[in-house]
Symmetry: C2
Subunit: 211 residues, 2 copies
């Protein structure tokens, strides 16, 4: 690749939020939208929206704004959502159950194929319509179905073992909900979701609000 | 307050992750730690760690590193964790259930007092040891117990109604897991947790990895 600009991860997160809002706007048949309208829709500022979109070469036209359909296409391309992603979920507990029914995933092109768990009372059953298989069936399943992403929703003590199977099966990415740092080779992309972080950013913001 | 530096939210998130790691390190009796060791422990880079900590005036000593105990104290102070936060959880479904048993919250000073739900088959029961009350008991409960934070884990269609009760009851902050943008007055701090964002940052990183 040629010259590359490093885009902050916070920008990617916000672009993802804009994208979901813009899909809804497009569904309503709206043709153009201003940075101010996007900001209002997602709870941000117009300057932030303009800055974020400018990273991707999307510039609104003064007095007209952005073309909603084109902007949607561009953003989906950027986020890697113009393809479908086949996903498996590991862990059929409360969190796995909540994730399996999270409707936002399928709408965005994430196709959960199956759930894996080591509880033999759950294996063979369904979780929100998805088949539950045993962990020792996982490697074969990933290879046969060319699964791209594994979502880890098991207790911290089991997370590295699960990750090791995913890595050996040549998974592309891991979304890790277990509160532990995984050791993975460079070619596997990991994103950790730490639920306590969100509460602590909240308390920081409460303690530091301008009032 | 005097001169104030705007600290990026991504920095606050990382500081929260460092903090949990440093608590573990302190528990092991380790006195000093280098930025490289922190980076290794959390899966970051030493330069990033140094930059993040410098925002808060914490500078390691060359050849010695940071004093673990002092750094822990400083970070907890910054994040607003030197006090205890009383929290309620709204929604006793799968996500609420997963959150109620998330051990990371209590360890960090977040004390979940009760769960609220509008399902009368659940009201009066317990969820992982926490009492489940009806939503119409929530306003009184918040005032009587001086609750600071409400965690919303209800479907999107109910989230604003729940938020309105929290706001009327003078809650300080809301952690919102519902995939919807809440309308709140300026004095209430909201943090949205959008689970799809995490998957989309992951796919962006997969599509843009340097290989």
């Amino acid at each position: 690749m040629g010259v590359e600009i490093k885009i902050p991860e916070a920008t990617i997160s916000r672009i993802s939020v804009y994208s979901r809002y813009l899909v809804e706007v497009e569904r309503q048949g709206i043709v153009n939208i201003s940075s101010g309208e996007i900001a209002e829709g997602v709870g941000g500022t117009p300057a932030q929206v303009r800055k974020d979109l400018a990273y991707f070469g999307a510039f609104g036209t003064r007095g007209v704004g952005y073309n909603v359909r084109l902007l949607n296409q561009e953003i989906k391309e950027i986020l890697g959502l113009s393809r479908q992603w086949d996903v498996i979920l590991i862990g059929a507990g409360n969190l796995g159950s909540a994730l399996s029914q999270y409707r936002g995933f399928r709408e965005r092109g994430f196709n959960i194929l199956a759930v894996f768990d080591n509880d033999m009372n759950k294996v063979g059953l369904k979780l929100n319509g998805l088949p539950i298989y045993a962990i020792n069936q996982m490697a074969d399943f990933i290879r046969e179905n060319k699964v791209s992403i594994g979502i880890i929703a098991v207790p911290a003590d089991y997370a590295q073992d699960v990750a090791d199977i995913l890595i050996d099966s040549e998974i592309e990415g891991i979304l890790n909900f277990a509160p532990t740092v995984l050791t993975v080779p460079e070619e596997v992309i990991v994103r950790d979701v730490d639920l306590a972080v969100n509460l602590e950013v909240l308390t920081y913001n409460i303690e530091n609000k301008d009032v």
